[in-house]
């Protein structure tokens, strides 16, 4: 999105009155969002237990962070979560959209409503619900596995070091795939139907026209979906917090959970702020990288 060019409007009066339209919203925003953002940067350069006066220590927090093993574990887990937050929902979403786009309208609307439902839910509550669904003793998920004769794999999902990350990730996939599908479905409606007719004349079959027409045409949607889901995975907190609190051990620790533990449990606010700032920088970097990468792709393909 680019900054809007000031349009010459009949409503534009020179003079002080214009600013009055911006000030109320801007003041609230500045007070409760922007000042805290700036303060977070400052706090990250201090050592502070939340009570006394913050002691300025320069970049020490950041230097310590780069030698902090738990931080790398958190980053590594986050990288694995990206598979569940972005890659799998994107693939499921695009395939589903391809299939569902040729289903009759009314049936399509009902299916869309079902697939999209998880996305409107509060993720914190979903976390609590899935904690119960996954419960090893009385959870419905393991009861189902036992009922169909798969007792051997009825694991204590959220307590298992190997399986906890995929188990939490699966909930994220379930949450996001309907959203991905809906965005792709809208994108497909934009594609000129005559392209498909032309492809059919050229002898392209279903999969070929999907691969050569639908997929390239959906590049803008793929970029948006990638952007939103990657950022959501870096920002992930609610779901993981309510399901595992980052455990067992550090198995589902991500930077935001680490930040919460450091700040609100260990009172190391300066260090916690440094973690938060690094996450924010990663969000910016990913945003930039996806924009750049997609632009290069646009240029080579089209």
């Amino acid at each position: 999105m680019r900054a809007p060019r000031p349009p010459a409007s009949v409503l534009d009066h020179a003079g002080g009155g214009n600013l009055l339209y911006v000030l109320p919203g801007l003041l609230i925003y500045a007070l409760f969002v922007f000042v805290p953002i700036l303060a977070a940067v400052v706090i990250s350069l201090t050592e502070w237990n939340g009570l006394g006066v913050p002691a300025f220590i320069g970049f020490t927090n950041y230097i310590n962070l780069f030698a902090d093993n738990r931080f790398y574990v958190a980053l590594g887990n986050n990288a694995q979560f990206i598979v569940f937050y972005c890659v799998i929902p994107l693939i499921i979403g695009i395939c589903l959209a391809g299939i569902i786009s040729v289903v009759k309208q009314r049936e399509r609307l009902v299916l869309r409503t079902l697939f999209f439902l998880p996305y409107v839910m509060p993720t914190a509550v979903l976390g609590i619900i899935f904690q119960w669904l996954y419960n090893p003793a009385f959870g419905p998920f393991n009861q189902f596995l036992k009922a169909i004769g798969l007792k051997a794999i009825a694991l204590p999902w959220l307590g298992d070091f190997t399986w906890v990350l995929p188990a939490v990730g699966a909930v994220a996939t379930w949450y996001f795939f309907g959203f991905c599908m809906v965005v792709f479905l809208t994108g497909m409606q934009r594609i000129d139907p005559s392209l498909f007719d032309a492809a059919r004349v050229d002898g392209a079959r279903g999969w070929q026209s999907f691969w050569h027409i639908t997929l390239p045409s959906l590049m803008p949607e793929i970029r948006v979906v990638l952007l939103l889901t990657v950022i959501a995975s870096i920002k992930s907190f609610d779901l993981i917090f309510t399901m595992t609190r980052g455990g067992p051990g550090n198995a589902t620790l991500v930077p935001n959970i680490y930040m919460y533990q450091l700040g609100f449990q260990l009172n190391r606010y300066g260090y916690a702020a440094a973690v938060a700032i690094i996450s924010a920088i990663v969000v910016f970097a990913v945003n930039f990288a996806i924009h750049q990468g997609m632009r290069r792709l646009d240029r080579t393909t089209g």
Binding site: V10, Y21, L31, V33, F34, P36, M121, E221, N287
Partner: protein, 278 residues
């Protein structure tokens, strides 16, 4: 995709059956939630997929009264309504300014607003907490209302400004020629024309505010001020063993969202995808 010679025939029956199974599996967690919320504890032991002998609606009463969900529900309502209204009104003002007016530092202010849209709340929750502590706002409705209004400002502004820029210029010019003041143009001409955009935005703010977790988790620790998702979390901590009442509570939290979603889903999905493709 089944593209045969001639017209699109639609996918074959097996594919449609798989689609439907997939659709139903997607919502099974909610079905289980509803089912469990009307079971008794002994029913629960008979298996997760077994129907209870008769529905135990008293679980809802337990959640509502003993589980304090009535308080949490009221708090959620009391916070969502002002957040939506104030965000929309302020968004109309700032959107109007960004769409039509010139003012100093317009570009800088725009950049400052977009920064707020990208930085995760987690990144500044610590200073926000201390600022609120300093302003004596911790454990008030105000802290939850004002912070969420502030966080909705960037999106509200961009959304409104882009909707206003799509309005036909002639209508606005005609109104000005007729001698309407700017306030009159904004409230009598623009606002009515923007009703679809306003209702989409209200829907977003309703759902986002209803679902918000981190802010009420950190900024409020008085049980009487907790909103539904946080209340649910602390309820779970206290009564882990009482699954039927816990699931009844979960239904209370998500029921309003489901109802609103089912009524307005077309509007919601169109608004979301329109916003996403910009």
């Amino acid at each position: 995709m089944a593209v045969r010679s001639g017209a699109y025939a639609g996918p074959a029956l097996p594919i449609r059956i798989i689609l439907w199974i997939f659709g139903i599996v997607t919502v099974i967690p909610f079905g289980l939630l509803l089912l469990t919320s009307i079971k008794s504890k002994p029913d629960l032991l008979k298996g997760a997929f077994v129907l209870p002998a008769y529905p135990h609606f008293e679980n809802y009463l337990n959640a509502w009264v003993d589980g304090h969900f009535s308080t949490y529900f009221m708090n959620s309502v009391l916070i969502v309504i002002p957040v939506v209204i104030i965000s929309i009104v302020l968004g109309l003002f700032t959107g109007f300014a960004f769409a039509f007016l010139s003012f100093p530092f317009k570009r800088t202010i725009f950049v400052v607003l977009t920064i707020g849209m990208m930085v995760p709340t987690e990144a500044f929750i610590i200073p926000l907490y201390y600022e609120m502590l300093y302003l004596n706002l911790i454990n008030t409705y105000w802290v939850l209302i004002l912070t969420q209004v502030a966080m909705s400002m960037p999106f509200s502004t961009l959304f409104m400004a882009s909707a206003m820029r799509q309005l036909p210029v002639e209508v606005l010019e005609a109104a000005v020629l007729d001698g309407a003041t700017r306030q009159q143009v904004l409230w009598r001409v623009i606002a009515p024309l923007l009703l679809p955009a306003v209702s989409t935005l209200s829907l977003f703010f309703f759902i986002w505010t209803w679902n918000e977790f981190l802010l009420p988790l950190i900024l409020v620790n008085d049980d009487n001020l907790r909103t539904l998702p946080i209340g649910m979390l602390f309820f779970q901590g206290k009564y882990t063993v009482n699954t039927p009442v816990l699931t009844a509570g979960a239904v209370i939290v998500i029921a309003p969202i489901v109802v609103v979603y089912l009524i307005f889903q077309r509007k919601f999905i169109e608004g979301l995808t329109a916003g996403a493709s910009k």
